[in-house]
Symmetry: C2
Subunit: 339 residues, 2 copies
DNA sequence: CTTGATCGTCGAAGCGTTTCAACACGCTAA
DNA sequence: TTAGCGTGTTGAAACGCTTCGACGATCAAG
């Protein structure tokens, strides 16, 4: 491999000049720049990343810690990851991928100066990784909200607002009895805060809109979804509006409703909280509140880069939910009675 | 951050001694080793990755190029990735994630010595990336088979054997008219070779088993799957055995069959080619040929590491397919007539 | 003309490791 | 006694880059 020395020699300049041509940190005259660039081109020169990292204390790599276990959220996770990776490239950074359970990896990459910054997904309320990265010299942004962010930046969908929005939509359409089919019990047990935030919004809006609300946890398997539907219709038979916040269970919930002869969009309205492409690939196009996973990933990178540049203070950004009406929701009994 | 100098000073030895304690490349007496280790512990010392890479020409990072676009294969991709990342850790390596379309990333990471080796997924028959990595100084392994591997290592499921196995299973159960519901047209157009290999195996076994075989491409959407089922049953109404090689379409294929009053496992046998967890999360547990994505990812890492260590020659490894009988397949007309 | 800026370039000192050659030491074998 | 050897340790030279301070030129202002 050619080194910066070879380039300098070939161009008849000093190595520092080559370096400045590359970094643009000092003015270089047009002819000199041209000679250097020609030499770089001719030699196929690529700066050695390690040498650069050593000299500049910058690696141009960010770490992304993602849950790679197979499970319900796989498509969502991929979208986060895709958002992070593509946006990182816009800042001329690459992405080092860590798995969620590799907690010691945090020490390894921060302590060893392998990365300039970190993004961590799937934050739990009392996440053991948070104090670790809070102590690191690299800035971090969390996707999700821990109980105590310890001066770290966070970004997420505003699930509380999403809960309110979903209920408002159903109540506005005349539904008086609504229900949530939510995350699997193990997710709730892990206290991934989004489930709780969604419920909080749901309940508060239900109260002020005067609608009844029932909550049903739901395993993502076909049988789990069927059980949740059955339990719901047994205990709250007047339910005409359902909010589903569980991508994995969504198709099975719809199947079960169909099996029971219930026509979604007519007999019952369903609002899904999920990425748009998931909403569109169901048996009918679902009314949904978008979970803009890719955008969140991008925002996370924007935030972490901002902290890397200037000395921005940490901040928490909650993205406003957007509801798109499609074929799975319609007017409920109150509106029908009125109309 | 503490440096190796600090450690050396604290332990009262030279830096080279500290280095040798860390790498184990030279014998160090027990007491000295203990003093050094105590100093490392006390100072919280972590070797600087960049400095290490510069001095040793090893980064302990491998690149993984994965297709991050959203689409049918998302769960499979995640399993590959998970396999690669976890196995890489076993070799004390981290993973740098590149997206499929970032072709220039190959140059960046190889030329800049950011990684020791590469793994590339989703290889197409005439993949433009193959010559690039073939020219790189780092070893590469491909997941999938290009037309011309150019001395690179490859690993994949033996799809041709899988095709044969599926037909043999159905033919053995007495089915005389079988069909393949395959990949979306765009995948076929990209010449991702697995689709073609599966078909080759299918056809050769059909011939020797004396069964008729019909092939139907299939979009992964609900409507695409329905159309494929309808087309199949219109043009080959005697079909009693179906092989589905399309994770995304699988649930919709089953739905459509159910809508048409066809009972899977009784009227028609279905064999899926997909990861086990996908096979198990359908409306009934599917007889399937496992796509061991995680294993393939692990094997890929094993192979690339082997090439990194010794001077292994390149090789191609095709994993033998395994068929597991579950509830979606049963005896066909010939067997029924005989029994 | 001087005096200062400004501009473009250069030399050299790091950055934190690894690793090679060399050396001190205590042994064994001659 | 000494040559020779293995063991454990060291010093110093890379590794390839960034960046600081300095320096010669050029040019405007006084």
């Amino acid at each position: 491999m050619a080194t910066i020395d070879d380039v300098a020699k070939a161009a008849g300049v000093s190595v520092s000049t080559v370096s400045y041509v590359l970094s643009g940190k000092r003015p270089i005259s047009a002819p000199t720049r041209a000679r250097v660039e020609r030499a770089i081109e001719k030699l196929g020169y690529r700066p050695h990343a390690g040498a650069r990292a050593l000299a500049s204390a910058r690696t141009n790599v960010i770490a992304l810690m993602a849950p790679l276990r197979v499970g319900v959220n796989v498509p969502v996770i991929m979208q986060f990851v895709a958002g992070v990776v593509t946006r990182a490239r816009d800042f001329d950074h690459d992405v080092l991928l860590l798995t969620q359970d590799d907690v010691s990896g945090l020490d390894r990459v921060t302590g060893g100066s392998m990365v300039d910054a970190l993004v961590m997904m799937d934050i739990e309320a009392d996440d053991p990784r948070v104090p670790l990265v809070a102590a690191a010299k690299q800035p971090t942004v969390l996707i999700g909200l821990p109980q105590d962010p310890e001066g770290l930046s966070c970004v997420d969908l505003d699930f509380e607002a999403a809960g309110r929005l979903a209920v408002r939509h159903l109540a506005g359409a005349g539904h008086t009895d609504v229900a949530l089919i939510g995350s699997p019990p193990e997710v709730l047990r892990r206290h991934t805060s989004y489930a709780e935030r969604l419920m909080r919004g749901l309940r508060s809006q239900a109260k002020s809109s005067g609608v009844a609300v029932k909550v049903e946890a739901c395993d993502s398997s076909p049988s789990g979804a069927a059980a949740a539907v059955d339990a719901l219709l047994a205990t709250a038979p007047d339910t005409t509006g359902i909010i589903v916040h569980n991508e994995g269970a969504l198709p099975h919930v719809l199947s079960r409703l169909a099996e029971r002869g219930i026509v979604v969009g007519t007999d019952i309205s369903v609002v899904a909280v999920c990425p748009t492409d998931v909403a569109l690939s169901q048996r009918i196009p679902m009314t949904s509140i978008d979970l803009p996973a890719e955008d969140i990933g991008k925002v996370a990178v924007d935030m972490v880069m901002a902290r890397l540049e200037g000395e921005q203070p940490s901040e928490t950004r909650l993205l406003a939910p957007v509801l798109t009406e499609r074929e799975s929701s319609a007017s409920g009994p109150a509106a029908a009675a009125a109309g």
